[in-house]
Amino acid sequence: MVRYIAQRLLDAIPTIFLILTLVFVAMRILPGDPAIAALGDNALPEQIAEFRERMGLNVPLWQQYFNFLWGIFSLDLGRSLLSNTPVTQLIATYLPYTLELTLFAMILGVAGGIPLGVFAAVNRNKWPDNAIRGYNLIGYAIPDFYLGALLLIFFALNLGWFPIGGVGSGDIWSRIHAVFLPALTLAFVKTAFLGRLTRTSLLEVFGKDYIRTARAKGARENRVVYRHGLRNALLPISTGFGLSLLSTLSGSVAIELVFNRPGIGRMLISAIAERDYAVVQGGIIVFALFVVLINLLMDLVYVIIDPRIRVTK
């Protein structure tokens, strides 16, 4: 088990380097001169020179690359061109909101999706199964920002049940009140995805010999479904959980925009519009590192739920 975990951690290191390198390449080389990209075509030569100096673009590329990596490891991602705030500070300010939204959405998605999947699998090919299949088709087709806008119009604007955007005031109930609709929006798609995954995984597990063994022992249906079935189906479900955590995170970008919530996604999007080069880079790095982190986390979750990895001979 220790070896497995160590292996995963070691595997993540080159991946992180590769991703950072790609970010570097994309930011410095692809769009041409970042100074012109940031300041626009009409910038004065002095402005450009000053910008290059400030961003450390006057040194050779290899040195820029080194500085770039060093900056990340020393948690210095430069300063916003607009507000001159350190990018790490911006990230520290906005990240909690994004995490709050993502976690809340995942909780709703899991709480909805897994029972739904169990229900569909137990009633295979009967009406609940078909209804859930229909829900799935819609869930995959409807863009989350559209659904969010509809919920906003209906529940916040027309019925006034929820605030129109924002994150609420300091106390926890007001925050939950404000995060509920955006989280529900993201959870709608997650529920469909996790529900379908749970159904498929459970049906596969139900065909296994050990399920028959459990019945032969005298286990009742509930016990067979949950203790033996779902417990084994958790392996594929946890993979899906990782995937949907990632897609919730990427979905949060648009949802933050719809509900006018602060967050890393909104930070990134407005930085793009404002050509705030350093903040864009910081936002990209945060998201990219999240991808690595979540994948790593999923590998570690397997350790907990799969004794075949946890306990070796």
Binding site: L137, Y140, A288
Partner: protein
């Protein structure tokens, strides 16, 4: 040599006729027929946009800001007085172009990379597989957002962004398929008797990995349309004032108190088209690549 080549060809199962495949896709699936009809209708709308759009999609007018639906403006007007229906009709062009173009380009690039990695192996395989694996860890939307963040909007940039987002998926499938086809007796014997590599790749490998690639292309058309809409919604796709279903919703959101109709209309269009392409893609997959069906 020619004789051997010929013999090798015969090991391949006879391809069903094109019409047979099309027939199977629709046979006994009313939903697929409806989906195909919707797709066809939207393609027609996209092509004929200048003819059927009642107004100029870009024409602003202060005289008719935020009108609700009426006989003149079926879906009302937006905060600039533009006709929402006309903007949606023109917006369909974006969705269709990117939806069809991006998966095709991604299929070409991804298949090339995947076949190279799978067929030649070695260092090429290691490099390609490593990068592909890493990119596959990213959800397509996130990858697209990150690339668009670096590149900026604009037509060709969107093409690049959407293509790059789908390349890893195609590359992985193509690589895996190539590896398995390469072990088939007809390929091994062709290699053994010294058939030239390009001949092997184009006559034996590519035709035999085509089915899953085509399946992915149809399935990901829906994803590409969704992605383009998302990017345009975020303001890093199709740029204003050009209409796209995504930025119609974006404009609508900035005008929430004015009129909800742009949001409702454009979102419905995206949902319908994506749903139709998904249904159609599922049907194509069931026929061409039944093994992967769950």
């Amino acid at each position: 040599m020619t004789a051997l080549d010929h013999g090798a060809q015969q090991v391949v199962a006879p391809e069903p006729g094109k019409f047979e495949i099309v027939g199977k896709i629709f046979a006994g699936r009313p939903a697929t027929v409806v989906a195909a009809f919707v797709i066809f209708a939207f393609i027609l709308i996209a092509i004929l946009a200048p003819v059927i759009a009642p107004y100029d999609a870009l024409a602003q007018s202060f005289l008719r800001i935020n009108h609700g639906p009426s006989w003149q403006h079926w879906l009302g007007t937006d905060q600039f007085g533009r006709d929402v229906l006309s903007r949606m009709i023109y917006g369909s062009r974006n969705s269709m172009i990117f939806g069809l173009l991006a998966p095709t380009l991604a299929a070409i690039v991804g298949t090339t990379l995947g076949v190279i990695a799978g067929y030649f192996g070695g260092i090429a395989d290691r490099v390609i597989s490593r990068v592909v694996d890493m990119l596959l860890a990213f959800p397509e939307l996130l990858l697209a957002i990150l690339i668009a963040a670096a590149l900026g909007g604009g037509f060709w940039n969107i093409v690049v962004v959407l293509t790059v987002a789908f390349v890893p998926g195609f590359a992985r499938v193509a690589r895996a398929q190539t590896l398995s086809v390469k072990q088939e007796p007809y390929v091994e014997s062709a290699i053994a008797v010294g058939v030239r590599t390009p001949t092997i790749i184009f006559r034996h490998i590519v035709p035999n990995i085509a089915a899953p690639i085509v399946v992915l292309m149809t399935l990901w058309t829906a994803s590409a349309i969704r992605l383009e809409a998302s990017l345009s919604f975020l303001g890093i796709g199709t740029q204003a004032p050009n209409p796209s279903w995504g930025n119609i919703i974006r404009d609508g959101l900035n005008n929430l108190f004015g009129s909800p109709w742009p949001i409702i209309g454009a979102g419905l269009a995206i949902t319908c088209v994506v749903l139709s392409f998904n249904l159609f893609g599922d049907a194509v997959r069931d026929v061409l690549d039944p093994e992967t069906n769950q």
